[in-house]
């Protein structure tokens, strides 16, 4: 191998590494901002807990992202002077229109995740899976995998597996989570 051929080989290698680690993720994931800035920290400081807006009903059904009627309880009038607060009231609360939040945790079709079983029976805290999301001051950019269509922040199967294998070895069969 001459010095010239080595140089071309290294150039190709460097380009591929740069593209693979820097360019490819930008191409693969479509980034989109949430329709409104939302501060979990502000709401937590006001005394709200996770279950106040994301409750698990009597029937065990998880409410997920709260509907606009939940917001309307406090935000019928603007709570401050920010532009986002003004938009919340004028564009969503007053006309009763749902906020088109981009959901980070939308599950694949072939999986079921019962929050009630994990939170109530398993006594697992929200932060165990959602980390410090409840203390954030703004929602992160939503990234969608252009091929799979799933959110980049979706909990990975390996995370489910490691927890189940460690704590619930009797619940590790495929059908424990998959439909």
């Amino acid at each position: 191998m001459t010095r010239r051929t080595l140089a071309f080989f290294v150039a190709g290698l460097a380009f591929a590494l740069a593209f693979g680690w820097l360019g490819f993720p930008r191409l693969l994931f479509a980034r989109a901002e949430q329709p409104l800035r939302f501060s979990h920290r502000t709401h937590a400081a006001a005394g709200l807990g996770c279950a106040d807006c994301h409750p698990i009903g009597e029937d065990g059904r998880f409410a997920g992202i709260p509907g606009i009627e939940n917001c309307a309880g406090c935000h019928a009038e603007p709570q401050g002077s920010s532009a986002d607060e003004k938009r919340l009231v004028e564009e969503f609360v007053t006309p009763g229109r749902e906020i088109p939040w981009r959901v980070y945790s939308r599950q694949p079709e072939n999986v079921r995740f019962p929050h009630a079983v994990h939170v109530k029976r398993g006594e697992i805290g929200c932060e165990r899976c959602h980390g410090t999301h409840g203390e954030s001051d703004a929602l992160p950019v939503h990234e969608t995998n252009r091929i799979t269509g799933y959110s980049r922040d979706l909990t990975k199967m390996s995370a489910c597996e490691s927890c189940h294998a460690g704590h619930f070895p009797e619940r590790t069969a495929c059908l424990a989570c998959h439909k």
Partner: protein, 690 residues
């Protein structure tokens, strides 16, 4: 600087090498795999009202109660009724039973053989062909035989009504899971169905019965397992052997000598007074003498016999299968004799009498039931194969010798399977969940019980209910079998059960099962159709008067002086319920192919010493030959297999799991050599490199 082709190729090479160390190829591979699983590529049933309908799984004799989730008219999921009073839950076969109506091997409608092809015909034409064959058999002096693999149903009674009108009718059944109990029943002074008081049994020694794979009613067995010591006697490390407290490895065909050897030790040690006939039968079966016949060390026989006495009440059962077929009749007699010597017959925790299920008139008919092994060779001119399936293997090699030259075969199986392929006429019955059916007491049930299963979905247009077929055939033959439909016959049976005033009716409600008095026969029928069940009153075990069930002199002589065992012997096996004529859902490929949890019919296994002697290696394609035929399989080395045994799955057929496959693997059933008594447990094989 001039860019040369060599420069481009080197940079491309560097790029490819670099790409391997980035997420690009791996992430793309993963994401494309996930993309193929998205909604656009998955069949999504149309939306509709969600309802739950009761049903029963009829793929094996257990008859597990099911709850079928329907969206609109379509069943989309099945779950076992875990709270069912007779034992709840369901196996993988039952949980996928709703797939069978759309199975690729489902037969579309009546058809007749035209050389190598099948031609679709109208029902009347197919029945006309059967009627002409019956007339020809009558003229030729041969028999018309119905083979019923699920006897005791109202369908069975319809067949027997038809055969009663035919002077040469034969009603044949196959040996089932309760064959040991049937052997004891035949020895009773006052015949009565027998069961096992399993809840109070302390030890169960199973001679090849799949006791821990869903034997009897799986839920009942699981509930009783905690207080039960299970000893599995098997020629291979079956799933039951793996799950049992002890596995006793025997040579194929060693069940009878081992049972007699155990009885020999018990009689010797306990000094029980038995008749001279029993002592005479046990002579020559001391542990030392029986050890080479059974393939078990004398110490092992002594230890097992003593453990059975220590863990009284202990029960021994045979029945055989799955996949390896029934045990020889004399082996069943030896096992039944062991039960007698153990003092387990007619006592609490042992084998007890129960009352029969009323109705259907099956036992009172003019046409008696005959075991398949008792049908004279070459005597059958017309063979009618009922569509009911017990999930047990039945090779064509067992039926073929019974047929007269140019015999006519009609199959009513809803599926294209090993037996249907031998037929001259196919008149497919409805698939599971498409027709009325009933659930009778399982092998070992200590009380009678009864349930019905109403159709969950309408039968496919080409399917013919078996009772309707019998009526049409009777009309074509000019004989009378009554006009009652399948549903009406079931109603009559429920009315007969209700009229006895016996037992309790349990209805299925939101909170589970509850006892409810039925206001009348119609109320009882409605409760059963809604998923309820009838359970007879429990009776106190009573001593039973029976003569010792002894193996016949010829079998004893053969066991005492066996022919020298040389060469390899075939061990056919299958998971319970997978070797019958009903194919499993293609979804179960996950068990056989993707996960390799169950050995498929494409794989043969042998021990390392045997493979080394034959110069064969793991994964190597091999050809397995018997006088019956040859099959191709991939070899798997299994250290748990004793020397000189070749294990090959009897089912499911590769074509059932992979419809359209051109695989030459066909499993063990085409290879087996059937004995005169209809068993096939001792087939010698030759294995060579393919």
């Amino acid at each position: 600087m001039l860019l040369t082709r060599r420069d481009v190729l080197w940079s491309l090479g560097g790029g490819l090498a670099g790409a391997a160390f980035t997420p690009v190829p791996w992430k793309l591979l993963d994401d494309v795999a996930i993309w193929t699983q998205r909604r656009h590529s998955l069949p999504v049933p149309p939306r509709g009202e969600v309802t739950y309908r009761p049903a029963a799984c009829t793929l094996c004799p257990a008859g597990c109660a099911l709850r079928v989730r329907c969206v609109g008219p379509r069943p989309v999921a099945v779950s076992g009724e875990v709270r069912h009073p007779l034992g709840g839950g369901a196996c993988a076969l039952g949980l996928t039973v709703h797939h069978l109506a759309g199975h690729p091997l489902r037969l579309a409608g009546p058809s007749v053989r035209a050389g190598e092809r099948w031609e679709s015909v109208a029902l009347e034409a197919a029945v006309g062909g059967v009627a002409r064959a019956v007339a020809a058999a009558r003229a030729a002096g041969t028999r018309v035989m119905v083979l019923d693999r699920r006897p005791g149903r109202v369908v069975s009674a319809a067949w027997r009504d038809l055969l009663a009108s035919l002077p040469q009718g034969l009603y044949a059944t196959v040996a089932g899971e309760g064959e040991t109990l049937a052997t004891l029943q035949g020895a009773l002074a006052r015949p009565a169905p027998l069961g096992i008081d399993l809840e109070k049994t302390r030890a169960l020694v199973s001679f090849g019965a799949p006791v821990l794979e869903g034997w009897g009613r799986p839920g009942r067995m699981l509930a009783a397992r905690r207080g039960l010591r299970v000893v599995q006697v098997d020629a291979w490390r079956s799933p039951s052997a793996a799950l049992a407290d002890e596995w006793v490895s025997i040579v194929p065909g060693g069940e009878g000598p081992l049972a007699l050897a155990l009885a020999h030790v018990i009689v010797r040690d306990t000094g029980d007074r038995v008749g001279e006939d029993v002592r005479s039968a046990l002579r020559g079966f001391s542990p030392r003498e029986a050890a080479p016949l059974a393939g078990v060390e004398p110490d092992g026989i002594e230890r097992l016999a003593q453990a059975l006495v220590r863990h009284a009440p202990a029960v021994a059962i045979g029945g055989g299968d799955p996949g390896a077929g029934p045990l020889p009749r004399d082996a069943e007699r030896a096992i039944a004799l062991l039960d007698l010597v153990l003092g387990s017959v007619g006592r609490e925790g042992g084998i007890v009498a129960r009352r029969p299920v009323p109705g259907a008139g099956a036992e009172a008919t003019a046409v008696p039931r005959i075991a398949l092994g008792d049908v004279p060779a070459g005597s059958v001119g017309v063979l009618l194969l009922d569509g009911g399936d017990d999930g047990r293997a039945l090779p064509w090699a067992v039926l073929r010798p019974l047929l007269a030259p140019k015999a006519f075969v009609a199959s009513l199986s809803p599926f294209d399977g090993v037996l249907a392929r031998q037929a001259d006429v196919l008149v497919p019955a409805p698939a599971p969940l498409e027709a009325w059916d009933e659930v009778l007491p399982t092998a070992g049930a200590s009380v009678a019980s009864y349930a019905v299963s109403a159709p969950v979905v309408p039968a496919a247009p080409g399917a013919t209910d078996t009772v309707a077929f019998v009526r049409v055939l009777a009309s074509a033959l000019g004989v009378e079998v009554g006009e009652a439909t399948h549903e009406e016959r079931l109603r009559e049976r429920v009315a007969a059960i209700h009229a006895t005033g016996r037992g309790r009716l349990l209805t299925r409600g939101e909170g589970g099962y509850a006892e409810a008095p039925a206001p009348g026969a119609d109320g009882a029928w409605e409760a059963l159709v809604a998923g309820g069940c009838w359970i007879d009153d429990e009776t106190k075990p009573e001593a039973l008067d029976l003569r010792p069930p002894l193996p016949d002199a010829e079998a004893l002589r053969k066991w005492r002086k066996p022919a020298p065992a040389e060469g390899l012997r075939l061990v056919a096996f299958a998971a319970r319920g997978t070797a019958g004529t009903t194919p499993p859902s293609p979804l179960l490929t996950k068990l056989y192919q993707e996960s390799d949890l169950r050995p498929a019919a494409t794989t043969a296994a042998m021990g390392p010493a045997t493979a080394e002697r034959l110069g064969l290696a793991d994964g190597q394609p091999v050809h397995i030959e018997t006088p019956g035929g040859g099959v191709r399989a991939a070899l798997r080395i299994d250290p748990t297999l004793p020397p000189d045994r070749v294990a090959l799955a009897a089912g499911p057929e590769p074509t059932a799991l992979h419809p359209g496959t051109k695989s030459r693997a066909r499993g063990a059933l085409p290879l087996v050599e059937a004995a005169a008594d209809g068993t096939w447990r001792e087939t010698r094989v030759r294995v060579r490199e393919a």
